[in-house]
Each structure stands twice: as C-alpha cells, then as structure tokens.
C-alpha cells in the first residue's frame, strides 16, 4: 500500500476577482521509501498541492477530493489533527526557509521546542539531538549555531537549519519545496546525498518539488510534471527525462541550458505566456502554446493516455507516438 494516495485533489483559492482553482483534479501517489519529483510551470500549483496535505492553504483556500495518508483520510482533518500530522508524520521544508524559521528566536529554541513538544524529551536530550541534527546538515560549529538567530545565517545555511528542523521528529513523508534552490551545487550535492541516505536508512518517503531537472534526475525514482494545476505527464525518472512525450514536458526539457544550440546565448523556451490563475484556457490548458494543438484540444479536457504501466500523459493527440520508447529517442 502506498504511503500517500491523492485522488481528484482540487484546490480553490480566493483571488482579487473571485475564487479560482489552482489545482485541478490531481491524482498521484507516493510509495513507502519512494522519492517522487514534481516539476512544472511556475505558478502551476505545486506548492498549493503540498500545502493542502498539511492543512496549510492560504486564507480562504479550500481543498476537495481525497488524501489518504498511511491508510487514513487526512483531507477532512481538524486543525488540531493537522497540527499533529505536521509534527510527527509529514514534515515540509519550503522554497523560502524563513517560512519555517522564526527570525528572532535562537536556533536552539526552535529546534528543541519542536522535539520537546512532539516527542516529550528532556531539555538536555533535546539539545543533544539538536546538535546532532545540525551536524547532519553540515552547519559549521553546531554549538555556536545553537545560540544564533536564523537572520544571522546566509540563505543556504538557513535552508540547512530548516531541513534539520523538518527531520527532528522523524517524519514518514518529507515534502521538500525547492529545497536546494538557494544552495550552491556542492552543498546541494551533499543534501541530495543526505536525502538518499535518509530514504535508505529510515525508509523515508520524499516528495520533492523543484524546477531543477538535474536535481530530479539524480534524486528521484519517479517524476510528475504539472501545468495549470493539472498533471500533464508522469513516469519513471529515466523514461520521462530521456523520452518525454507530452508537448509541455518536451518544451521544458528542450529549454535546459545544455540542450540549446551551442555557442548561442539564447536558450530555447516555450513561446507564449503562462496561463493566469482564474483564467485557465479551456480544454487542454496548454493548447494556447502547443504546436500540435487540434480543434478538439480547445474543447475537451485531455483524457489520460497510459503509454506503459508507469508512464502516462494527458494528451490524446500524442504527437510523439512514432518515436521509439526505448529511451534512445
């Protein structure tokens, strides 16, 4: 049984001009010890998807559908139940580490409060665990760091402290939203190694949201690509990156700096503007920017097309169907 099974998740947000769906009918799952990557257009609803699992949607945000976690429905949880889930079962680290850190409280207070509240350990034991956690995430001079405030660290260092805090209560699922965007590549490589290790050692499940396809390539088992609040494609990491089949995914991968024409500073990008919340195009939301769009794409929501048992696209036109499936492309 999967640790997490999300079905028909729809997230509605309040915008200046009424309600709008930021996530639409999204279904996916994360297995035990599996690392799922989520990528997609900026503004496509990745963060809202994550927040809905923690009961942390913005003011007036509503989620419907079903989120089964470890065998029980959590979408209907009360505030109190969500607080318990957040402390002990699902932890999240954010794109902006200051989201989970208080700028004016010492690192020690923040790390140990967490431990003491959820695991009821003594002050001394909590301090020791905090020191260990800081060492795990490679904070220099952990003891000195304990008495510092997060505002005194650089962006990258703050993220490491946020990771330490997320790991404090040994969650079953870690949701990491752009966890390494603020980190340099050598530290990023260390964090990727750390997440791999946590998966192996603790059978931790991880859902990692990032636009960095390099990070997804080295870290994840499976990838889901989102556009305008919906999945457009998902598959095993190597299949999806070597043989993308949805026109949006194709465009995303073609835009990688390594894939544009060498010796030109200009990178390939997908023409047109990203869709606007509350104003998503009808039918396939990508039709306004898709070179392969047919008349029907404007009208009907694209049905799922299973290419293999583990690779699917939401594009009935399937313009790259004649390409080999071997991955050599």
């Amino acid at each position: 049984m999967n640790l997490l099974t999300v079905e028909n998740l729809t997230v509605t947000l309040a915008t200046g001009s009424g309600e709008a769906q930021a996530v639409r009918n999204l279904s996916f799952n994360v297995g035990r010890g599996e690392i799922l990557g989520v990528a997609g257009e900026s503004g496509s609803g990745k963060t809202m998807t994550a927040l809905s699992m923690l009961g942390l949607l913005p003011y007036k945000g509503k989620a419907s559908g079903s989120i089964m976690f470890d065998g029980r429905e959590i979408l209907t949880s009360t505030k109190r139940e969500y607080r318990d889930i957040r402390g002990k079962e699902i932890a999240m680290i954010f794109q902006d580490p200051m989201t989970s850190l208080h700028p004016m409280l010492t690192v020690e207070v923040q790390l140990t409060e967490h431990l003491r509240h959820h695991r009821k350990v003594s002050k001394a034991a909590a301090r020791n665990s905090a020191l260990e956690l800081l060492a795990t995430v490679k904070i220099p001079e952990p003891a000195a760091a304990l008495s510092a405030h997060p505002s005194q660290f650089s962006g990258g260092m703050r993220q490491r402290i946020a990771i330490a805090m997320a790991l404090a209560c040994e969650p079953k699922l870690l949701i990491a939203d752009e966890p390494t965007t603020a980190l340099d590549v050598t530290v990023q490589a260390g964090i990727l190694k750390l997440l791999h290790q946590l998966r192996t050692d603790r059978n931790l499940s991880v859902m990692v949201i990032t636009h960095d396809l390099g990070v997804l390539s080295s870290l994840t088992d499976r990838i889901m690509i989102m556009y305008a609040g919906s999945e457009v494609e998902s598959g095993a990491t190597s299949d999806l990156l070597k043989n993308p089949r949805h026109p949006y995914t194709k465009g995303l991968i073609a835009a990688l700096p390594g894939n544009s024409e060498v010796n030109s500073k200009n990178l390939l990008s997908i023409d047109g503007m990203p869709p606007e919340l509350g104003n998503f195009p009808t039918g396939c939301a990508f039709h306004t920017r898709c070179k392969f769009a047919k008349a029907s794409c404007k009208e009907t929501l694209p049905e799922v097309l299973n290419l293999t048992s583990n690779h699917r696209i939401f594009c009935p036109v399937n313009p790259f169907s004649e390409l080999s499936n071997s991955g050599s492309n």
């Binding site: 490679k138 396809l213 503007m273």
Partner: protein, 323 residues
Amino acid sequence: MKEILNLKNVAVEYDRHGRKVRAVAGVDLTLNSGEILGLVGESGCGKSTLGKAIVGILSPITGEIVFDGQKVKKLTRGKRPDHFRNLQMVFQDPYGSLNPRRKIGMQIADGLIVAGMSKKLALVKAADLLEKVGLPRNAVDRFAHQFSGGQRQRISIARALAAAPTAIIADEPISALDTSSQAQVANLLVNLVDEFDMGMVFISHDLSIVRRISDRVAVMYLGKIVEVGTVDQIWNNPSHPYTRALISAIPHADGTSFMPKDLPGDVPNPMSPPSGCRFHPRCPLAKPECSGNEPELRRLADGRDVSCVLQTAGSQPVTLTLN
C-alpha cells in the same frame, strides 16, 4: 568596451554579538558595459553581501567601488542621487524585498515617479514592464502574496528595470523559475544587456545557466575571489581546486541518476576563517605550506586570475586532477 564598475580591495563586515564577521574579505573586480559577469560560490561566501555593497546598501570597511566614474557611497534615507539610479539590484529574496501591503504596480512605478513621470503614465509603464518579464498586465493591481515564488522573481526584475539601469546586480534572479521560464528570463536579461549595453553581475547557483549566458565568471570562496576567467577557461580547465569541485558537483538532467560529487568537510565559519589558503582544510590537493601562506590572485598566461600555489603567475594553467 567601457568599464562600468571597478572594485578595489572591497571588504565588508557584519557585527554578530559584538564579534566581527568579515563576509567580504578584499575583492578586486571589474565589470564592463555589455558584459555579463557570473558570480558563483558556496552559500554564505558573501555574494549577496558584495552585491549589496556595490549598490550602496552596505558600506565597505576598506576599499572602494567606482560606478561609471563616481565613487559609490552608502545610501541614506533621502533621495538616491540620480547618478546611482542607473545602478540597480534584483534581490535574492523576492519575499522580503516586496512590500506585502502595496500593489505591485505602485512598487514598480515608484522609481518612475521619483524620476519625474506622472503616476498614470508610470502605471502604464509598470504594466509594460510586467508584460516584458512574462506576467499579465493586470498584475499591477495585485499584491505580492498572490503570486507564486517564480512570479515574484519576475516582479523584482521588472522593478529593477523601471530605472533603465546601466548596470544590474542580479542576485539569483531566476532560481525559482521552471526551465522554460528560466530560459525566457535569461534570454530577456541577455537581450537587455545587448540592447542597452548594460553591465550585469549575475549571481547564481545554477551553473549551467551561468555557463550559457556569462562572458566571464568569478568564483568566490569565503569572502574572496579565488578564480576569474572566461566561461571557457573556467569550465574547460578550472585552475583552482575549488572551481574544480564546483564543476564536478553540477547534476546532469539526463535521466541517468548520475550522482554529483559533494565537497566533504565543514563549510568554514567567516568569524574564524582558516589560516593560509582559506580552502586548505577541504582542499584535496593541499600542500603543507597551504596552511601558512595566503595565496594572492595572480594572472596566468591565458589572462585569467587565480589564487592557488599550484599555479604560477605568467605560466599556462596546470591541469588539476582530483582523486
């Protein structure tokens, strides 16, 4: 090519509980018009601090910064001198740098109104700028919290562009964007640099983008520049062991589950930097004398500057092999 920025021996300190943190420890750097200079290095090595010193938000304790012929002074609360309105920064943290209670349009229009434009026209121009960075025109009427992380980064870029700058310090301007939007914004920046003959310092952890759009790259470690050279020199034959480590840590987006190499050892604390070469405790090629003498930046025969005892001034770079 005209030199637009010149930094000499710039050092910046913070005060942490009475202890001095020298976040930037003596940096020499130049930027030319029409040039993109990539600035890369470990988290916490002082890139943002250097950027803030360049635009006058922080004042250096030693050294000087000259922008377009005039010495940069620390900004005061009053109006920014006209000369320095052409020197702009896109901040790393688009959350902290946007005012949550003011409409996006007004935040962009501010700079234009200060420069003498009518409010009405400034708002139209703000919408133009938002469109230029790939956001809908009606974003002028919304607030920062109504945008995703990536969208806020575009807003910060639009705001910096409002001043028609001749030099921009762009601190991680595209790090929260998807690859296609990254490509769009990177192309936008490249074209602006060309079109207006701007100079740009491009701070980024995304080395594949840095490689593509920069002309030269400066590599920083613990407050100091350790290597500066052309993109080709840095990538094809890095001559400083830290540069070498950075290049080996870049992940490959090819679906091969290639594991990039991390750099073992503790990130040093700028409050007590290691003696001698600041990289020596983590350097796989360190020699005994590296803990004693701090190497200076010196020019190699191919025109790059590097600070490492393994390289000799005036000679061709020695190719480094790590394990």
